[in-house]
């Protein structure tokens, strides 16, 4: 059969093309444009080639920020995923309290990033914050504006407080989909609590956990607002993560070229790590189900 040529079809695709062009392609190409040029103001640009990329790859500042960022994401995942699963396992399965738990869990997720930052910034202050004041009175040295350890602890606990619910809710959804007969069967088999978790709950939660880990990784790897509000990247550079550094470079110092090169590499790193995660976990999934 001969294909009918219908040029009208292009008009149907057009809205999507326009939308994608303005929301993704144009901004991304602008960044690409900046990354290969230099400017001294007056909107005059000079060709710089790969100079900025070269500079960024050799910049200790960027490598340090990347190291801090990776450490932060790793710690976040290592805490939030097990904790989320633990919370989900201990939530009531049905009834009034299940609804109460769900609402409580959802609350932190509804709070905007900068509000979370502000809450914790005040909460941790030694003079007026409940946490900071209490710790100070207990004789525990805590000052997130001066102490490296306190700053990291604050940022991490804040993120755990904000986002563990997401992992917990996803894990809870996974647990809810397990038919009761599985639990009966394990009871009859005299399986231990650990065996039930290892052989029933974990395999059944795998799909949602993969989504949870991907979401939490991408989000934590791009974190900006909360540490910016609380520590402003300090003390020193100790909580200057990639996006904070990027903003400093692009808007603070107005180094558009290096910042653009930095952004592109940042984007590629996120893409690469997400792809690795995804591939590893779908392969795990294949091994489990043979599909």
């Amino acid at each position: 059969m001969e294909k009918t040529v219908n040029h009208k079809a292009w008009f149907l695709v057009l809205p999507v093309l326009v939308l994608v062009a303005f929301s993704a392609v144009v901004p991304l190409m602008t960044v690409v444009n900046y990354s290969v040029q230099d400017t001294f103001g007056n909107n005059e640009f000079f060709w710089a080639g790969l100079e900025w990329f070269d500079e960024m790859l050799n910049s200790q500042r960027m490598w340090d920020a990347l190291g801090r960022q990776l450490a932060f994401s790793a710690i976040i995942l290592a805490i939030e995923v097990p904790l989320g699963i633990f919370v989900a396992l201990n939530m009531p399965k049905k009834g009034f309290w299940a609804s109460v738990c769900l609402v409580l869990m959802a609350l932190p997720l509804l709070i905007p990033w900068n509000v979370v930052g502000t809450i914790w910034q005040i909460f941790g202050r030694v003079d007026i914050g409940l946490l900071g004041y209490t710790l100070d009175k207990l004789g525990i040295p805590y000052n997130y504006t001066q102490d490296f350890f306190a700053a990291w602890a604050t940022v991490i606990i804040m993120d755990v407080w904000h986002w563990t619910s997401l992992v917990a809710l996803l894990a809870y959804a996974g647990l809810q989909s397990i038919p009761d007969a599985y639990y009966q069967a394990t009871k009859i088999d005299q399986a231990s609590r650990w065996a039930v978790f290892r052989f029933i709950e974990l395999p059944k939660m795998q799909g949602v956990l993969m989504i949870a880990i991907l979401l939490r990784f991408m989000d934590s790897f791009m974190i900006y607002t909360e540490p910016f509000v609380v520590t402003g990247g300090g003390p020193g550079n100790s909580t200057t993560f990639l996006s904070i550094d990027l903003v400093k470079m692009a808007l603070g110092q107005f180094d558009l070229g290096p910042a653009a090169a930095f952004s592109i590499m940042y984007f590629l790193v996120i893409l690469l790590i997400s792809w690795v995660f995804y591939t590893v976990m779908t392969n795990l999934d294949k091994r489990e189900t043979g599909r």
Binding site: P179, A181, Y182, Q184, A185, K187, I188, D189, Q190, A191, A195, F199, I200, L202, P203, K204, E288, T289, G290, R291
Partner: protein, 362 residues
């Protein structure tokens, strides 16, 4: 080996799920729990297994009271309607899992797993994961897990309901043979009368949380003690009509009557309930003694080699099952026939007064 339920009941909130039930099941027997959905089959099984504690009554195992004993401390195996296997480990490990938890030696486990896998025709599939198997194979794996444990009580809760027709027939033929050889007590829940008849053994009919009758399957089928049992143990359900006995005659509607012979002769005069199974309704040919009725035809359903005809007889709904495919005009009067030997007589409370003559002779 014997499992005894003595006045066992289960009340949840204000709802009685199981009324006080007495039941004795012996080792090496297949016991079918037959009843419609929500009649209490699964609840009764859970009580037998020890997954739930009865509200009242006692559960005895070989004469020993095990009422409060949790399922972990009883030797029980169960297979469900859903295919329940451990998803992340191989078929071999799935079958081995009950034995591993019992702490058996590796050689012993290997022998037992291979044996039950062989019986369930899973020999070539031991290295696969359950989800790589077809539905029938997954359920074979679950059955092998139940078998390998050598449990005293094996509960099968509608194990074939989620399988397609062909597989169901195949497994249904194999299950009684395989499990009877093991000598345990088998309890098999089903909603289908046909399945109960094919499995044989004993049948307990359930209706709204009550065991209405328990006995050898063919006997329960032939002589149901009451109208409820007859309704449950007949697919489509048994048809009923009111009759009255006057002197030596039994008067049916439509001016039809028959001699009140045998057990019926000594019955007091009065009104009774006559019941007959759908396959005993004659349409295109009839026995010489048959009585003639003229109900209205409302619906016909054709299932390949058989036709279900739905009739309305003075407000009573009847279903007839006739062989062959028939194209009948709806909303017309259809002449149907009923041989008196196929009629069960119940009193108005539903208690059987006289079983059908054909069933007594058989």
């Amino acid at each position: 080996m014997a499992l005894q339920l003595e006045g066992v009941s289960k009340v949840v909130g204000r709802q009685t799920h199981i009324h006080a039930t007495d039941l004795t099941l012996m080792g090496g027997t297949m016991n079918v729990l037959l009843g419609p959905t929500l009649s209490g089959k699964t609840t009764l099984m859970r009580l037998m297994a020890g997954l739930d504690k009865p509200t009242s009554g006692r559960v005895l195992w070989n004469g020993e009271d095990v009422t409060g004993l949790p399922v972990q401390q009883r030797n029980v195996a169960m297979v469900y309607q859903q295919f329940i296997n451990y998803p992340s480990i191989t078929v071999y490990e799935n079958i081995a899992s009950p034995l591993r938890l019992l702490g058996k030696s590796a050689a012993e486990i290997d022998r037992a797993v291979k044996e039950s896998a062989g019986l369930m025709k899973l020999d070539g599939l031991l290295d696969r994961k359950p989800l790589e198997l077809s539905g029938g194979q997954q359920q074979r794996c679950a059955l092998a897990r139940a078998l390998v444990k050598n449990a005293g009580l094996v509960l099968l809760d509608e194990p074939l309901a989620n399988l397609d027709y062909k597989l169901r027939e195949e497994l249904r033929a194999e299950i009684p043979k395989i499990f009877e050889a093991a000598g345990s007590i088998f309890v098999y829940a089903t909603t289908e009368p046909e399945e109960a008849l094919l499995l044989g053994g004993n049948t307990a009919t359930l209706w709204e949380g009550r065991v209405t009758q328990f006995g050898k399957t063919p006997e329960v089928y032939r002589a149901p003690v009451d109208a409820t049992t007859a309704r449950v143990f007949s697919d489509p359900p048994m048809n009923f009509m009111q009759v009255s006995k006057t002197g030596s005659r039994l008067m049916f509607g439509d001016g039809q009557s028959t001699a009140a012979a045998g057990a019926l002769a000594s019955l007091a005069d009065g009104r009774y309930l006559a019941g007959f199974r759908p396959n005993h309704l004659e349409v295109f040919s009839h026995t010489p003694d048959a009585m003639e009725f003229s109900p209205r035809l409302t619906v016909t359903e054709i299932t390949g080699s058989e036709t279900f005809i739905h009739l309305n007889h003075h407000g009573e709904r009847w279903v007839g099952l006739v062989h062959g495919v028939h194209d009948l005009a709806l909303d017309t009067t259809l002449k149907v026939y009923l041989d008196p030997s196929h009629v069960y007589i119940f009193d108005l409370n539903g208690t059987l007064v006289a079983p059908a003559a054909y069933a007594v002779a058989a």
